[in-house]
Protein backbone atom coordinates (compact mmCIF):
# COMPACT_ATOMS: atom_id res chain seq x y z
CA UNK A 1 0.00 0.00 0.00
CA UNK A 2 1.28 3.46 -0.75
CA UNK A 3 2.02 5.77 2.10
CA UNK A 4 0.47 9.00 0.84
CA UNK A 5 -0.86 11.53 3.25
CA UNK A 6 -4.67 11.54 3.44
CA UNK A 7 -4.89 14.93 5.05
CA UNK A 8 -8.01 16.74 3.91
CA UNK A 9 -8.17 20.35 2.79
CA UNK A 10 -9.85 22.81 5.08
CA UNK A 11 -13.13 23.89 3.55
CA UNK A 12 -13.34 27.62 3.10
CA UNK A 13 -16.05 29.85 1.74
CA UNK A 14 -15.04 31.42 -1.53
CA UNK A 15 -17.07 33.95 -3.44
CA UNK A 16 -16.15 35.23 -6.89
CA UNK A 17 -16.16 38.94 -5.99
CA UNK A 18 -12.86 38.84 -4.03
CA UNK A 19 -11.30 36.84 -6.85
CA UNK A 20 -12.10 39.55 -9.39
CA UNK A 21 -10.99 42.27 -7.02
CA UNK A 22 -7.71 40.51 -6.30
CA UNK A 23 -6.56 40.44 -9.90
CA UNK A 24 -5.28 43.47 -11.79
CA UNK A 25 -6.36 41.93 -15.05
CA UNK A 26 -9.99 40.95 -15.77
CA UNK A 27 -8.74 38.34 -18.25
CA UNK A 28 -6.69 36.61 -15.58
CA UNK A 29 -9.55 36.84 -13.11
CA UNK A 30 -11.88 35.25 -15.65
CA UNK A 31 -9.47 32.38 -16.36
CA UNK A 32 -8.97 31.75 -12.68
CA UNK A 33 -12.67 31.88 -11.87
CA UNK A 34 -13.57 29.50 -14.66
CA UNK A 35 -10.89 26.86 -14.13
CA UNK A 36 -9.33 27.08 -10.68
CA UNK A 37 -11.60 24.57 -8.97
CA UNK A 38 -10.90 21.85 -11.55
CA UNK A 39 -7.17 22.55 -11.54
CA UNK A 40 -6.94 22.57 -7.75
CA UNK A 41 -9.02 19.41 -7.48
CA UNK A 42 -6.88 17.56 -10.02
CA UNK A 43 -3.71 18.60 -8.19
CA UNK A 44 -5.19 17.75 -4.79
CA UNK A 45 -6.35 14.26 -5.63
CA UNK A 46 -3.40 13.49 -7.91
CA UNK A 47 -0.80 14.53 -5.35
CA UNK A 48 -2.84 13.67 -2.25
CA UNK A 49 -1.54 16.66 -0.32
CA UNK A 50 -3.47 19.94 0.17
CA UNK A 51 -0.36 22.06 0.69
CA UNK A 52 1.33 20.75 -2.43
CA UNK A 53 -1.93 21.13 -4.35
CA UNK A 54 -2.16 24.77 -3.28
CA UNK A 55 1.41 25.41 -4.42
CA UNK A 56 0.79 23.55 -7.66
CA UNK A 57 -2.36 25.57 -8.41
CA UNK A 58 -0.43 28.80 -7.88
CA UNK A 59 2.45 27.61 -10.07
CA UNK A 60 0.18 26.33 -12.85
CA UNK A 61 -1.78 29.56 -13.17
CA UNK A 62 1.35 31.67 -12.97
CA UNK A 63 2.88 29.60 -15.76
CA UNK A 64 -0.34 29.92 -17.76
CA UNK A 65 -0.45 33.69 -17.32
CA UNK A 66 3.16 33.95 -18.45
CA UNK A 67 2.56 31.84 -21.53
CA UNK A 68 -0.90 33.04 -22.39
CA UNK A 69 0.39 34.65 -25.57
CA UNK A 70 1.71 31.23 -26.64
CA UNK A 71 -1.73 29.69 -26.41
CA UNK A 72 -2.75 29.16 -30.01
CA UNK A 73 -6.24 27.88 -29.45
CA UNK A 74 -5.44 24.44 -30.85
CA UNK A 75 -7.09 22.96 -27.78
CA UNK A 76 -9.53 24.43 -25.29
CA UNK A 77 -8.11 26.59 -22.56
CA UNK A 78 -9.24 23.97 -20.04
CA UNK A 79 -7.23 21.25 -21.83
CA UNK A 80 -4.20 23.51 -22.06
CA UNK A 81 -4.37 24.21 -18.31
CA UNK A 82 -4.77 20.51 -17.57
CA UNK A 83 -1.68 19.76 -19.63
CA UNK A 84 0.36 22.25 -17.61
CA UNK A 85 -1.06 20.80 -14.38
CA UNK A 86 -0.32 17.20 -15.31
CA UNK A 87 3.27 18.00 -16.31
CA UNK A 88 3.79 19.99 -13.14
CA UNK A 89 2.31 17.34 -10.85
CA UNK A 90 4.15 14.49 -12.57
CA UNK A 91 7.43 16.37 -12.14
CA UNK A 92 6.66 16.83 -8.45
CA UNK A 93 5.85 13.16 -8.05
CA UNK A 94 8.99 12.07 -9.85
CA UNK A 95 11.21 14.16 -7.64
CA UNK A 96 9.67 13.44 -4.25
CA UNK A 97 7.08 10.70 -4.48
CA UNK A 98 9.26 8.58 -6.73
CA UNK A 99 11.81 8.26 -3.96
CA UNK A 100 9.37 7.80 -1.10
CA UNK A 101 6.25 6.04 -2.33
CA UNK A 102 5.89 2.56 -3.76
CA UNK A 103 2.56 1.90 -5.43
CA UNK A 104 1.04 -1.48 -6.09
CA UNK A 105 1.45 -2.70 -9.65
CA UNK A 106 -1.60 -3.12 -11.86
CA UNK A 107 -1.77 -6.94 -11.92
CA UNK A 108 -1.42 -7.30 -8.16
CA UNK A 109 -4.08 -4.70 -7.65
CA UNK A 110 -6.39 -6.40 -10.13
CA UNK A 111 -6.03 -9.82 -8.49
CA UNK A 112 -6.60 -8.36 -5.06
CA UNK A 113 -9.69 -6.35 -5.93
CA UNK A 114 -11.43 -8.23 -8.75
CA UNK A 115 -14.90 -9.38 -7.80
CA UNK A 116 -15.42 -6.78 -5.11
CA UNK A 117 -16.30 -3.95 -7.46
CA UNK A 118 -19.94 -4.54 -8.32
CA UNK A 119 -21.59 -2.66 -5.44
CA UNK A 120 -22.41 1.03 -5.64
CA UNK A 121 -20.09 3.39 -3.78
CA UNK A 122 -21.57 4.36 -0.42
CA UNK A 123 -20.48 6.68 2.34
CA UNK A 124 -22.38 7.94 5.34
CA UNK A 125 -21.24 11.55 5.25
CA UNK A 126 -19.78 13.99 2.80
CA UNK A 127 -16.85 14.55 5.15
CA UNK A 128 -15.90 10.90 4.89
CA UNK A 129 -16.10 10.94 1.09
CA UNK A 130 -12.92 12.93 0.48
CA UNK A 131 -10.82 10.71 2.73
CA UNK A 132 -12.09 7.53 1.13
CA UNK A 133 -11.65 8.86 -2.38
CA UNK A 134 -8.09 9.88 -1.60
CA UNK A 135 -7.26 6.50 -0.11
CA UNK A 136 -8.72 4.68 -3.10
CA UNK A 137 -6.91 6.93 -5.59
CA UNK A 138 -3.62 6.53 -3.72
CA UNK A 139 -3.86 2.78 -4.09
CA UNK A 140 -4.30 2.97 -7.87
CA UNK A 141 -1.50 3.12 -10.43
CA UNK A 142 -0.81 6.72 -11.44
CA UNK A 143 -2.23 6.20 -14.91
CA UNK A 144 -5.61 5.02 -13.59
CA UNK A 145 -5.75 7.82 -11.05
CA UNK A 146 -5.18 10.42 -13.74
CA UNK A 147 -7.71 8.86 -16.11
CA UNK A 148 -10.47 8.85 -13.50
CA UNK A 149 -9.77 12.42 -12.47
CA UNK A 150 -9.82 13.66 -16.06
CA UNK A 151 -12.91 11.72 -17.09
CA UNK A 152 -14.72 13.12 -14.06
CA UNK A 153 -14.58 16.50 -15.81
CA UNK A 154 -17.72 16.52 -17.94
CA UNK A 155 -16.17 19.10 -20.28
CA UNK A 156 -13.47 16.72 -21.49
CA UNK A 157 -14.13 14.23 -24.29
CA UNK A 158 -12.40 10.83 -24.42
CA UNK A 159 -10.35 12.20 -27.32
CA UNK A 160 -9.14 15.07 -25.15
CA UNK A 161 -8.38 12.72 -22.26
CA UNK A 162 -6.46 10.55 -24.73
CA UNK A 163 -4.54 13.55 -25.98
CA UNK A 164 -3.66 14.59 -22.42
CA UNK A 165 -2.49 11.11 -21.46
CA UNK A 166 -0.78 10.25 -24.75
CA UNK A 167 -3.08 7.50 -26.00
CA UNK A 168 -6.05 6.88 -28.25
CA UNK A 169 -9.64 7.32 -27.12
CA UNK A 170 -10.13 3.53 -27.49
CA UNK A 171 -7.23 2.92 -25.14
CA UNK A 172 -8.77 5.38 -22.71
CA UNK A 173 -12.07 3.46 -22.78
CA UNK A 174 -10.33 0.13 -22.19
CA UNK A 175 -8.20 1.35 -19.30
CA UNK A 176 -11.05 3.29 -17.80
CA UNK A 177 -13.04 0.11 -17.39
CA UNK A 178 -10.28 -1.41 -15.26
CA UNK A 179 -9.67 1.85 -13.43
CA UNK A 180 -13.35 2.11 -12.45
CA UNK A 181 -13.47 -1.46 -11.21
CA UNK A 182 -10.26 -1.15 -9.22
CA UNK A 183 -11.36 2.13 -7.68
CA UNK A 184 -14.80 0.79 -6.71
CA UNK A 185 -13.34 -2.36 -5.18
CA UNK A 186 -10.81 -0.45 -3.07
CA UNK A 187 -13.41 2.15 -2.10
CA UNK A 188 -15.87 -0.50 -0.95
CA UNK A 189 -13.21 -2.48 0.93
CA UNK A 190 -12.79 0.48 3.27
CA UNK A 191 -16.12 -0.24 5.01
Amino acid sequence: MPSFATEQPVETEVSTAPVRAAFDSPERAAIYEEHSQQIYYLALRFLGDPTQAEDATHDVFLKAFRKLSDFKGQSTLRTWLYRITINHCQNLRQTWYGRNVHTTDDDTLWERTAGAAQSPLRVLETKELGERIQSALNALPEEYRLLLLLVADEKLSYEEVGSLTGQTSDAVRGKLHRARKSFAAIFNQQD
Partner: protein, 78 residues
Protein backbone atom coordinates in the same frame (compact mmCIF):
# COMPACT_ATOMS: atom_id res chain seq x y z
CA UNK B 1 -53.57 -4.40 33.61
CA UNK B 2 -55.05 -3.84 30.24
CA UNK B 3 -54.22 -0.10 30.47
CA UNK B 4 -50.66 -0.99 31.49
CA UNK B 5 -50.43 -3.20 28.41
CA UNK B 6 -51.69 -0.31 26.25
CA UNK B 7 -49.05 1.98 27.79
CA UNK B 8 -46.34 -0.51 27.04
CA UNK B 9 -47.57 -0.92 23.52
CA UNK B 10 -47.61 2.85 23.02
CA UNK B 11 -44.12 3.08 24.46
CA UNK B 12 -42.93 0.39 22.10
CA UNK B 13 -44.51 2.21 19.19
CA UNK B 14 -42.78 5.43 20.17
CA UNK B 15 -39.46 3.61 20.42
CA UNK B 16 -40.00 2.08 17.02
CA UNK B 17 -40.87 5.49 15.57
CA UNK B 18 -37.76 7.01 17.11
CA UNK B 19 -35.60 4.23 15.70
CA UNK B 20 -37.26 4.68 12.33
CA UNK B 21 -36.59 8.44 12.38
CA UNK B 22 -32.98 7.84 13.32
CA UNK B 23 -32.61 5.37 10.48
CA UNK B 24 -34.22 7.73 7.99
CA UNK B 25 -31.91 10.46 9.31
CA UNK B 26 -28.95 8.26 8.49
CA UNK B 27 -30.31 7.63 5.01
CA UNK B 28 -30.58 11.37 4.43
CA UNK B 29 -26.87 11.88 5.11
CA UNK B 30 -25.76 8.71 3.34
CA UNK B 31 -24.38 9.22 -0.15
CA UNK B 32 -24.45 6.65 -2.91
CA UNK B 33 -22.73 6.86 -6.28
CA UNK B 34 -23.05 4.54 -9.24
CA UNK B 35 -19.63 5.32 -10.69
CA UNK B 36 -16.29 6.66 -9.44
CA UNK B 37 -16.77 9.72 -11.66
CA UNK B 38 -20.00 10.57 -9.86
CA UNK B 39 -18.23 10.36 -6.50
CA UNK B 40 -15.33 12.47 -7.77
CA UNK B 41 -17.66 15.15 -9.14
CA UNK B 42 -19.50 15.39 -5.85
CA UNK B 43 -16.20 15.54 -3.99
CA UNK B 44 -14.93 18.27 -6.34
CA UNK B 45 -18.03 20.37 -5.75
CA UNK B 46 -17.43 20.14 -2.01
CA UNK B 47 -13.79 21.18 -2.36
CA UNK B 48 -12.97 24.88 -2.33
CA UNK B 49 -9.77 26.38 -3.63
CA UNK B 50 -7.93 27.99 -0.69
CA UNK B 51 -8.31 31.77 -0.82
CA UNK B 52 -4.57 32.16 -0.25
CA UNK B 53 -3.91 31.01 -3.83
CA UNK B 54 -5.56 34.12 -5.31
CA UNK B 55 -3.55 36.45 -3.10
CA UNK B 56 -0.26 34.69 -3.85
CA UNK B 57 -1.03 34.51 -7.51
CA UNK B 58 -1.88 38.17 -7.81
CA UNK B 59 1.35 39.10 -6.05
CA UNK B 60 3.37 36.78 -8.28
CA UNK B 61 1.63 37.88 -11.47
CA UNK B 62 1.93 41.56 -10.59
CA UNK B 63 5.18 41.96 -12.53
CA UNK B 64 3.91 40.22 -15.64
CA UNK B 65 2.72 42.33 -18.55
CA UNK B 66 -1.05 42.37 -18.78
CA UNK B 67 -2.56 40.26 -21.54
CA UNK B 68 -2.88 42.38 -24.66
CA UNK B 69 -5.65 40.48 -26.34
CA UNK B 70 -8.69 38.80 -24.97
CA UNK B 71 -9.58 36.89 -28.14
CA UNK B 72 -9.43 33.58 -26.26
CA UNK B 73 -12.41 34.69 -24.16
CA UNK B 74 -14.60 34.93 -27.23
CA UNK B 75 -13.22 31.64 -28.46
CA UNK B 76 -14.00 30.01 -25.09
CA UNK B 77 -17.61 31.19 -25.20
CA UNK B 78 -18.29 29.51 -28.56
Amino acid sequence: MNRQHQKLTRKEQEEQQTASHQQSGQHQTALEFKTPEEALRHDREQTSVPTAVVERLNRSAGDLPKPRRSWWRFWEQE
